[in-house]
């Protein structure tokens, strides 16, 4: 028996649960973006010269690019000069142990349900906690170091491992890849860096909690994960953000590199502030996530549970370059009230006998719009490539929308591509059946929706699956009349 039921019962009827602001003095650079700001960011982070050059080059590319508008999303124009691009909690030195952390910051993590000591002791999860732009604490480092695994803030990796950074940063998502990736490359604040050496299986789930904590501070996280030959790593990313009135811009870039026989599993539970019931406020989330199966027999698996953000623009993708490599995308995207999501994946088959699997579960409630956009591309050399895609949409109420935009480009006749799609409405007879067994309508909807998402949830590590269910329930509150 799992404890999922107890978890379900814990759900409270509340406003956005994580809508609080920690009162820490914040060091903020002036609003707006120019080369001086980029120099400031680079200097604040003690970056080597090559990094500053890299950022400036990205910035100059970005200046020539236009914000994309092909997605099924509507939002007022973003004034990029009206954003802050750097904010850091004021701290003189990096703490050596958890005891040195500002008690208020620790309290914040406690509210988020991730008491660091407890996690360290009980859960076996190494946490690289990011608050605003600077990493505060990194745990379990010692244990990982023994295995030769590097798990640190990317700002630290830039100083300590410049060769790895030069080799891999931007190798999957080049700075000029798209408008938001270019912006991120110019101003990225911090994020995680993971390197797992040859033949090493990372013994614990690596996890990072991102959090926006200063009004109008754009979050530009940058994550880079490399699994060398035969290595394995599972990485968890979870987000919560405090309630804010103004829109907050978020443009992250995540790059994954899997060498021969390596496997990377990347799981996300995304819960950025979605805005209030009238659609006011909420995070704009423009994310570029891409992995490359560089070597033969490698595997990359994305699992995402997206419940937050006012706007979600996100397509975690896999380039299947090595022969026999495998790519997976499991997604639950839930939109409620006035939320809009345009999300999906790209599977690019380059090598022979490459396989990909897409399972997408969209849930729309309120007046929201939820779109799946997916590309399966089979290049001429990808003999016997195989893809299976399943895209399901679930509608709650009659004022929301579900849309599916599948794209297929097959240039090899031996490829096998399958696509299944369903759209269904949550059944009144199902709700009545559960009501008749004493279950409230709210819990009944949560049960049906969780059941619908099961295929994706079971891809998540256990503690994350529980978290994901909680989030779905919170996000659906008030969606059924």
């Amino acid at each position: 028996m799992t404890d999922e039921q107890e978890m379900i019962e814990k759900i409270t009827k509340s406003e956005y649960k994580y809508g609080f602001v920690t009162d820490i003095e914040t060091e903020i650079a002036p609003k707006g973006l120019n080369e001086d700001i980029i120099r400031l960011i680079s200097k604040k982070k003690n970056e080597p010269e090559f990094m500053l050059e890299w950022r400036l080059k990205a910035y100059r590319k970005w200046l020539k690019m236009k914000e994309p508008h092909w997605a099924f999303l509507k939002y007022p124009p973003i004034d990029y000069q009206d954003q802050y691009y750097y904010a850091a909690p004021k701290q003189k030195k990096r703490p050596k142990s958890l005891d040195e952390i500002d008690p208020k910051i620790k309290e914040t993590f406690d509210k988020l349900g991730i008491p660091l000591e407890e996690q360290e002791r009980l859960a076996g999860v190494a946490v690289d906690a990011v608050m605003d732009s600077v990493s505060i604490a990194t745990t379990f480092k010692g244990e990982l170091e023994k295995l030769g695994i590097i798990f640190c803030p990317i700002s630290e990796a830039i100083q300590k491992y410049p060769d790895l950074i030069k080799k891999y940063l931007g190798s999957v998502v080049p700075p000029g890849d798209n408008f938001f990736a270019a912006l991120n490359s110019a101003v990225f604040s911090d994020g995680s860096f993971v390197y797992v050496p040859k033949g090493v299986r990372c013994p614990m789930e690596l996890s990072t909690y991102f959090r926006i904590n200063a009004a109008n501070t754009g979050q530009f996280e940058r994550t880079l994960i490399i699994a060398d030959e035969g290595a394995y790593v599972s990485y968890l990313e979870g987000c919560t953000a405090p309630m804010r009135d103004e829109h907050q811009l978020h443009a992250a870039v995540v790059e994954l590199i899997a060498h021969k026989d390596a496997e990377i599993k990347y799981s996300t539970v995304q819960n950025w502030y979605p805005g209030d019931e009238e659609g006011k406020g909420g995070i704009y989330n423009f994310v570029t996530k891409r992995g490359i199966c560089l070597g033969d027999n490698s595997k990359i698996s994305w699992t995402q549970v997206e419940t937050g953000s006012a706007i979600t623009w996100k397509y975690p993708s896999v380039i299947l370059k090595g022969d026999n490599s495998e790519g997976e995308f499991y997604s639950v995207a839930l939109t409620n009230n006035y939320q809009q999501a345009d999300t999906g994946t790209k599977m690019i088959h380059v090598g022979k006998n490459t396989r990909s699997r897409i399972v997408s579960k969209g849930i729309s409630a309120g007046r929201s719009n939820n779109s799946y956009r997916g590309l399966v591309k089979v290049l001429p050399g990808a003999d016997n490539a195989r893809n299976f895609s399943q895209c399901d949409s679930l509608l709650i109420g009659d004022q929301c929308g579900a849309h599916t935009f599948p794209y297929l480009e097959v240039k090899n006749p031996t490829a096998q591509v399958e696509h299944e799609a369903t759209t269904s409405k949550i059944g009144e007879d199902q709700i009545f059946y559960l009501n008749q067994r004493g279950i409230s309508t709210e819990d009944a909807v949560a049960l049906v929706v969780n059941g619908y998402c099961k295929e994706v949830f079971q891809e998540l590590p256990m503690e994350f699956a529980v978290e994901a269910q909680k989030l779905l329930e919170i996000s659906l509150e008030g969606s059924v009349g």
């Binding site: 008749q436 409230s440 059941g451 295929e455």
Partner: protein, 254 residues
């Protein structure tokens, strides 16, 4: 336990129940029989609180409370259980999760603490034996891929777990072969006590050979036109519903 007074119910403007009167006491089992379209399932659904039924007139009191004012989940928590004629499938929701959620909702209403996993599992095992269901069902999704007989047995299992005061069996015998019918009836019989009651809705007398009722009512055109003991069911079996129709027509013309 349950008192229905002059209950008139319409569906989409058509009056289906035209004044039902019924009194059910603890320890009793009432069978409601009648031809198709006589309003049997409507009565079951109205008692359970399904949407789409308009109560035009009348009163239903359950354990002294006004039943018609309560939402369906509250009726269930108060002890009304409907064994569905067509149980629905809920993909991805395991039987165990479903039953535990339901049981804890009912327990909370009774002021009891939630069951812990071990106690719950033991309870389930015990109740599953009652309807001869294999434990492997606990990990399957609710009713998904169940045969007709398995679905009906599952309804009785839920009844056994939730232990209602008043259980309504809506054509539980439909689509069952003789073995499944025996298992279902046997399960129900073991649950009969002095402090609970049953309404058995059926088209055929067959089920009543196994679940022997204290009273039999014949529902015809939205009214209870005949009440008696189990002999009435046998009489119906022999003569069909036609004699009733004739009797009704002649009564109306008089």
């Amino acid at each position: 336990m349950l008192t229905i007074k002059n209950l008139r119910v319409a569906v989409e403007g058509n009056e289906i129940l035209k004044g039902i009167n019924l009194e059910i006491k603890a320890g009793e089992t009432h069978a409601i029989m009648g031809p198709n379209g006589s309003g049997k399932s409507t009565l079951a659904n109205v008692l359970a609180g399904k949407e789409g039924y308009e109560v035009l007139e009348g009163e239903v009191r359950f354990k002294g409370k006004n039943l018609l004012e309560m939402p369906p989940e509250e009726r269930a928590r108060e002890g009304i259980f409907l064994a569905f004629q067509y149980p629905v499938e809920i993909p991805g929701v395991s039987m165990a999760t479903f039953l535990r959620t339901a049981l804890n909702a009912v327990r909370e209403h009774r002021g009891e603490p939630p069951v812990d996993a071990r106690t719950f599992l033991n309870l389930l095992r015990e109740k599953m034996q009652l309807v001869e269901m294999d434990e492997k069902f606990l990990n399957r999704s609710v009713n998904e891929g169940f045969s007709g007989g398995e679905k009906k047995r599952n309804e009785i299992l839920q009844m056994a777990v939730l232990d209602p005061s008043l259980a309504i069996l809506d054509e539980t015998d439909s689509g069952l072969d003789i073995d499944a019918l025996r298992i279902v009836a046997n399960g129900v019989n073991q649950l009969r006590r002095k402090d609970n009651a049953f309404i058995v809705i059926t088209h055929y007398q067959r089920l009543l050979d196994y679940i022997v009722p204290d009273y039999v009512h014949v529902l015809f055109d939205g009214r209870i036109v005949e009440s008696g003991d189990k002999e009435l069911a046998l009489h119906l079996e022999e003569h069909g519903y036609d004699w009733l129709k004739k009797e009704q027509t002649s009564a109306q013309t008089l």
